[in-house]
């Protein structure tokens, strides 16, 4: 786990302010990466306890947010690795083969979405969350960090210890899978 970065002059966050501001963000990032509520809770607990112990080394929320992102990703990856070791399955190498793009098939239906900025209803959000949870782990990591969290490819590559071409390849394949998973819902009347 990386150490917190050096401090600059700004107020030290309190445990309560950290909890209010960051606990939901840590939890939802971990849940999306791990695809499991109970695992996300364990990871959130680990991360919060770590950060509260190191609070006096931070000055300001911006620095803390960046560090927390990285620590949460590392904790989620470590958690999954431990679980995979226990279960003796799910290796990164194998995962590269399990998300081949669907072959071009029949006619493609136009999605029922407006040209403007989309709006996401609760029902649509639930469909999307389920589709994310069904992505294989290594693809889900890249996908969540890139398309949900909005991190640049370079940062994702650094966090996950991958090359940028590998990040781009996984992201593209995950997007194709997500697009195909969402198609039945957005081709109909679900989309706004």
């Amino acid at each position: 786990m990386s150490d917190p970065p050096p401090t600059t002059a700004a107020p030290t966050p309190t445990p309560e302010s950290v909890f209010r501001e960051f606990a939901p963000r840590i939890y939802h990032l971990a849940r999306r990466m791990l695809g499991n509520d109970a695992d996300a809770e364990d990871v959130t607990q680990d991360v919060l306890v770590q950060v509260i112990r190191k609070l006096d080394t931070f000055r300001g929320d911006a620095q803390l947010a960046t560090w927390l992102h990285r620590v949460t990703v590392n904790a989620a990856l470590a958690f999954r690795q431990k679980r995979a070791n226990r279960q003796k399955r799910e290796t990164t190498e194998a995962a590269d083969d399990v998300l081949e793009a669907a072959p071009v098939g029949g006619p493609v239906k136009r999605w029922n979405v407006g040209p403007d900025e989309p709006v996401l209803a609760a029902e649509q959000a639930a469909v999307i969350e389920r589709a994310i949870a069904e992505l294989p782990g290594p693809f889900r990591d890249v996908y969540v960090l890139a398309d949900v969290e909005g991190l640049p490819n370079q940062e994702i590559a650094d966090m996950l210890g991958m090359s940028i071409p590998a990040v781009k390849s996984r992201l593209h394949r995950a997007r194709l899978r997500m697009r195909d998973a969402l198609a039945p819902h957005f081709e109909g009347g679900l989309a706004s």
């Binding site: 493609v108 959000a125 997007r175």
Partner: protein, 79 residues
């Protein structure tokens, strides 16, 4: 350009990383292939809509358990 080749380029197209010559072939295929035109629209929408996912509050019960764990962590830190 085939439909398969078109779809393999969607990521680079979305990132604005296609070179001019490939962009021309990409656009030529799109205008002549309604299926790939629709596919591109839906791919783009898939990317856009993810940024709308909300973080949301902690689920019921989770906040209480996390607060208790953090309080324990603080206590053990103080010795």
């Amino acid at each position: 350009m085939t439909c398969d080749e078109f779809r393999q380029l969607l990521g680079d197209h979305h990132a604005g990383e296609l070179v001019v010559e490939v962009t021309e072939r990409f656009d030529f295929h799109r205008t002549g292939c309604p299926d790939c035109g629709f596919y591109l629209e839906s791919y783009t929408h898939t990317v856009k809509v993810m940024r709308l996912l909300k973080c949301g509050p902690l689920p019921a019960g989770v906040e209480e358990r996390l607060r208790a764990a953090c309080a324990l962590g603080e206590k053990s830190e103080r010795g």
